[in-house]
Symmetry: D2
Subunit: 146 residues, 4 copies
C-alpha cells in the first residue's frame, strides 16, 4: 500500500488536510516538523484547554497526542480522513507548566495494512522532561481498489 | 483512611464539588446515580464535542471517562480536588451515535491509600453496546494529618 | 462473518482447540464456563507461576488474561488459531493470595471484522475483590473466501 | 529520596539483586547496559518461551518488558525488592523472529516518590524494527525512615 520510508504528504499538505477534516480544532495545532515516521507538533494553549490553576487539562493532552499520532500516520499513508483511533494508553507524569504551549513528538513504530501504532511524548515548551506519554493505535481504512 | 463500603458524598454534594473544581466543564456533565463504588454520568453533547459528521470526538469521550472515574473516587474518599489522573487506557469500539448524549458507567475496582483504579464503559444514550471502554488510575493526595 | 449472538464453539470444543494450539500451556488452564460474549477460566497455579513469597507473577496473570480473551473471542468466531493479541492494558490492583488458583472472567465487548476487544477481571479463587483488570485486543485473520 | 541523575546500582549489582529477588527467572535475563534512566536487556529465549511455530509468546514479552522497567527503576533508586508493577500497556506490533533472542531498551521517563514510569521497546536481536512497545508503572515502597 505504501512505501514505508517515504513521506506521502509534507507539512503544508498535512496542515491543509487537518484544517479541512478537523476545522473546529485545527487552529489549536501547528505542525512544526514532519519527517518519515516522526512528527513534531505544537498545541496553542488557550483558556479552553486549562484547568483551574492554569494547568493544561487531561482531555487537551489527549487531543494533542491523538492528533500527533494521526498526522504521523497520514504523513506516511496519504490523506485518509477515515482513519480512526482504536486505542490509546496515556501516563500523566508531570503537571504541565502554566503559561506555555505543549509540544508533542510522535514516532510511528508500526505501519501495517490495518493498523498504525505510535508512541508520543508531550512536553511543556522549553522543558526537558515530558509531562505525558501516550501510545496510540489507528485503524486504517481498506483500499477501495486494493 | 476511609470505610470502603460507605459513600462519603452523595450526588448533590458531588455535583456541587464538581461545579467548584471544574467550573469550565461542569455544565457538560450530569451525575445520574451514585452508589458505593459505582457512578453513572451523562455528558450533554453540544457542538464543541463533535467531529465533522456529527460524531462525538475522542477527547470528549476521554473527558467523560476521566470525570466519571474521578467522581466515583471522590464519592468514596470525600472532597479532594487534588486527586490527579495518573494513567488511562481507552478502547474506541464503535462510532457514537449522532444526536444523542453519552452515558458513562464507572466502577471503582480498587481504592488504596495512594491510587484508585476504575473501569468505565461509555454508551450512546439508548444503545446497549458500549462505544468505548476506559481504565483510569487516580493518585490520591496523602492525608495531611495521617 | 459471524452471528454475534450465538456461540460457535462450546467449552469442550474450545478446550480441545486450546490443547492443540497451545499444547505447552494448555494444562495450566481450565475453561469453567462459556456463554455468548463471556468466558470464565481457571489458572491452575503451580511452582512455575510464583514469585518468591508465593504470589502469582505478573507474566502469569498476563497469560491468564490473554488466553481468556482469546477463548472468549474464539467462542464467537470459531476456531482460528491465527488470531493474535495486538494490544493489552493491565492494572495490578492487589497481591494474589498465596496457595489458591486464579479465576478470570472475560467479557467480549466488541467483535468486529478485524478486531475483538475484551475486558477481563482476575480473582484469587474465593475472593470477591479482583487482583487485576485487563483490556485485550485481538486481530482477527481475514476470511479466506470473504 | 534519590538524586535523579546518578546511578545507585551498576550492572553487576543489579544482576546480583535480580538473581536473589527473582531466582526462578534470573537465568532468562542478561543486563547488557545500564545508564542513568536507561537499561538494555537481553532475554535468552528457550523452549519454554515459545508458541507453536517458534515465535516468542506474549507472556514472555510481557516478562521482559516488566523486568527491564524494574531494573531501570532500581538502577536509580537502589535495591528495593518491594517495588511492584501497578500497570502496563503493551502493543504487539510484529511477530518476533524465530531462533533469536529478544532485546529490550527501557527508558525511565518519570521517577517520583511513589511511582516510576517507563517506556520499553522490544526487538528481535539484529532487527531494526521493534516487535512490541510497553509502558510500565511501578509503585515504589515508602522510605522507612522518611
Amino acid at each position: 500500500m505504501t512505501d514505508r520510508g517515504e513521506l506521502q504528504m509534507d507539512a503544508p499538505q498535512l496542515a491543509a488536510f487537518m484544517r479541512e477534516a478537523f476545522q473546529q480544532v485545527a487552529d489549536d495545532f501547528v505542525i512544526l516538523e514532519v519527517k518519515p515516521n516522526e512528527v513534531t507538533m505544537q498545541m496553542v494553549i488557550t483558556e479552553k484547554h486549562l484547568r483551574p490553576g492554569g494547568t493544561v487539562s487531561g482531555p487537551s493532552m489527549f487531543a494533542l497526542a491523538d492528533v500527533s499520532a494521526y498526522i504521523a500516520t497520514l504523513a506516511m499513508i496519504g490523506p485518509k480522513a477515515l482513519a480512526v483511533t482504536t486505542s490509546c494508553a496515556m501516563d500523566f507524569m508531570r503537571k504541565p507548566r502554566a503559561g506555555v504551549d505543549l509540544i508533542a513528538r510522535a514516532k510511528l513504530l508500526k505501519l501495517g495494512r490495518q493498523l498504525s501504532v505510535s508512541h508520543v511524548l508531550l512536553y511543556s515548551e522549553g522543558q526537558a522532561e515530558p509531562v505525558a506519554q501516550a501510545t496510540m493505535t489507528y485503524a486504517i481504512p481498506p483500499e477501495k481498489n486494493g
